[in-house]
């Protein structure tokens, strides 16, 4: 598959480059031009067959699942879903929280890692941000169409009306509306601004024609002058600074939907940190799920190196452990409350009608990442991929446990009833997965999936004082090309 990745390293700057004593983020002394070529190549060359094999089915699923599903829903009523008078929020909200969670890693990588000067982020942040945008789009579908009268959803917008009535700013749901829409908008800005220089690159490489014009328009006439760069860098820094609290706030606000209620099992102060950790956890898992195949398909092993994967695995291990702690703390808080309702809520989670969901959540989210304590496991891509998939599933189950299990056994036993999802429920969820894949594949097809400018900047010689180092001769460290490394460890 990764045929294009086998091109031999060449160095057109002529001179022998001494290297500082640290592992390079870009292997094999790739030149600026090589980087440009390789990344733009993805867009300019014909897509590998695999791309079509993924794109066609997923777009079809998206069309039927989301398009068809929503049509039936709106024309007929929320009753087509499995929700009942007992479980008023069923799968739809489970899926909403699931997707919103995934939508966190992107901005996190771009913003927090940027602020903390983690240069290794440069080669994954673009894709991660794209993922964020698409995940939030998928997430948005659920709450939006979840309301019984979606044609009156504009009641949520504080616009003056003849009824002289307003929204209820005490409602966590209203906070949610503001939080999610803000998050989406800011992420979009962040993503787009980050792409402008790369769009210019593509523009300048295109043959004249419609594509050149389109890229030209979106590149806004970027010239790469330093008078632009200086503002641009500042803007990027600011956005990062803004997004960091934002990304933390969004899932906190989502968790308020539960934490501020009186429902036993929801009414917990640890929800915000617990949800945020969970979101980062799930988000990184999804990044890995998508990037590992992508780097093979497009031969980006030199840009997305084992170091990146290793780092992400470590983050998953950390956040996974935090989430595990939260799970246990919940139990303790319930026990400590001394209230039968609280205690039962968790008793029923563990061993009640949905014990399997709880078991799945525990094993997939808390146990599976523990394998990352071992370096060898972090270096084995199959393992990493497997764990990432486990976490994706596990996080869905976490939301299922929180929402469905709790509502099915609330205060009055006389009103207990279990929940069963309708086909439309499942259709829509699968549909959003299809939609997510479709959008991501289109992104790979038409937009630079790696931040060209930043990757170049991550090269050592990008430092203007680089040549000053010639003073003290340094042969640099021997580095095995990443993909050879994989050939030895990963493929068995």
């Amino acid at each position: 598959m990764a045929s294009t990745s086998q091109t031999a390293p060449h160095n057109d700057s002529g001179i022998k480059l001494p290297v500082l004593k640290r592992e390079k983020l870009i292997l094999n002394d790739r030149s600026y031009h090589w980087i440009t070529d390789r990344i733009c190549g993805i867009i300019e060359n014909r897509q590998p067959l695999l791309w079509w094999l993924l794109f066609l089915p997923s777009s079809l699923i998206a069309l039927i699942g989301v398009g068809g599903g929503l049509f039936h829903l709106v024309s007929t009523g929320v009753g087509v879903w499995g929700n009942t008078n007992r479980i008023m929020w069923g799968w739809p909200i489970v899926n909403f929280v699931f997707w919103i969670g995934i939508g966190h890693a992107g901005t996190l990588i771009s913003a927090i890692l940027f602020l903390t000067r983690q240069n290794w982020r440069t080669s994954i942040n673009r894709a991660a941000e794209a993922m964020t945008i698409f995940a939030v789009m998928c997430a948005g579908i659920f709450p939006a169409f979840h309301v019984g009268r979606v044609w009156f959803a504009w009641f949520l917008a504080p616009i003056p009306n003849a009824n002289a009535i307003w929204q209820n700013f005490k409602s966590p749901l209203l906070w949610d509306v503001f939080a999610v829409s803000t998050y989406f908008t800011v992420s979009l800005i962040f993503w787009f601004l980050g792409m402008v220089p790369d769009l210019a690159t593509i523009r300048d490489r295109c043959k004249p024609g419609i594509r050149k014009i389109l890229y030209g328009i979106f590149a806004l006439g970027w010239r790469g002058g330093n008078r632009q760069w200086s503002h641009y860098e500042m803007a990027y820094l600011l956005l990062a600074a803004l997004s960091t609290p934002l990304v933390l706030s969004v899932h906190s606000v989502v968790s308020f939907d539960f934490a501020t209620s009186v429902v036993p099992g929801w009414h917990t102060t640890i929800f915000p940190p617990y949800f945020v950790a969970g979101a980062i956890f799930g988000g990184f898992a999804m990044v890995l799920t998508i990037m590992i195949p992508a780097r093979f398909i497009y031969g980006l092993q030199d840009l997305i190196t084992m170091k990146h994967i290793d780092n992400m695995a470590k983050i998953i291990l950390l956040t996974g452990t935090i989430v595990g702690y939260a799970y246990l703390m919940e139990l303790f808080v319930a026990f400590y409350s001394g209230a039968i309702y609280e205690m039962d809520a968790f008793k029923f989670r563990i061993a009640g009608p949905y014990w399997w969901a709880y078991a799945a959540m525990m094993s997939l989210n808390v146990l599976s990442p523990q394998i990352f304590w071992f370096k060898s496991m972090r270096e084995n891509l199959w393992v990493v991929m497997a764990v990432a998939m486990c976490v994706n599933v596990g996080m869905w189950f976490e939301r299922f446990v929180i929402i469905v299990t709790t509502l099915a056994r609330m205060w009055l036993p006389g009103d207990w009833k279990t929940f069963s999802p309708s086909p439309q429920d499942q259709m829509l969820f699968v549909g959003t997965i299809g939609m997510f894949l479709t959008l991501f594949l289109l992104f790979l097809r038409f937009l630079p999936c790696i931040n060209i400018a930043e990757v170049k900047w991550a090269k050592l010689e990008s430092d203007p004082h680089f040549e000053d180092n010639e003073a003290h001769p340094d042969e640099g460290t021997e580095v095995i090309p990443a993909y050879q490394h994989e050939l030895t460890t990963g493929k068995n």
Partner: protein
């Protein structure tokens, strides 16, 4: 080939590496030019100093943008919830003690407004979008977004002289020096 006289934009010179560009920039700066710029495929750190650029004022825009957001959210919430039509929900007060409930929205709008100020403030400062620019007419300029490092000195600069400037660029190591002229359309 057109016979009409073209307006000169200025000189465009290429440099072989970021370091070379850096050093050259310092010289151009010292030569006292104002209307010139370095073109690089990625942000070369320290180049601002080398060019003698001041720190971007964008943060100030954003600061005030953010303040506006906070104020908007607070006014919106307070006026509608406490003054215009206070509704009784879960026996929660509709007076100053209600304000904590407004914090999430206030926070979000602060971020949102700041975000927009960043976007539009930046576009303003970079004077983008500008789809047409004389430099695009240059044969080699497209490498500025790939692996080329350029300096362009504009003819509008009062220190500009067709010969001296060209020599200057040559001295500081500029290659493929090119006189960029604006296209007629």
């Amino acid at each position: 080939m057109s016979t009409t006289r073209k307006r000169v934009y200025g000189y465009l010179a290429e440099f072989k590496s970021a370091s070379a560009l850096y050093k050259a920039a310092e010289k151009v700066r010292d030569a006292g030019f104002r209307k010139w710029d370095c073109y690089t495929p990625y942000p070369v750190h320290g180049l601002d100093a080398a060019m003698g650029l001041k720190r971007s004022i964008l943060p100030w825009f954003v600061f005030f943008g953010g303040i506006t957001g906070t104020a908007t959210a607070f006014t919106l919430a307070y006026v509608t919830q406490v003054i215009l039509y206070p509704t009784v929900v879960q026996a929660k007060p509709t007076n100053i003690f209600t304000i904590p409930a407004f914090f999430p929205v206030m926070f979000e709008l602060t971020i949102l407004f700041s975000g927009f100020t960043v976007l539009f403030g930046l576009l303003g400062l970079m004077q983008l979008p500008r789809l047409n620019h004389p430099l695009f007419a240059s044969k080699q300029f497209h490498r500025a977004t790939d692996d080329g490092f350029f300096i362009a000195i504009e003819a509008r600069d009062e220190k500009f002289s067709p010969q001296a400037t060209r020599d200057l660029l040559a001295d500081i190591g500029g290659e493929n020096i090119e006189l960029v002229e604006e296209e007629q359309d």
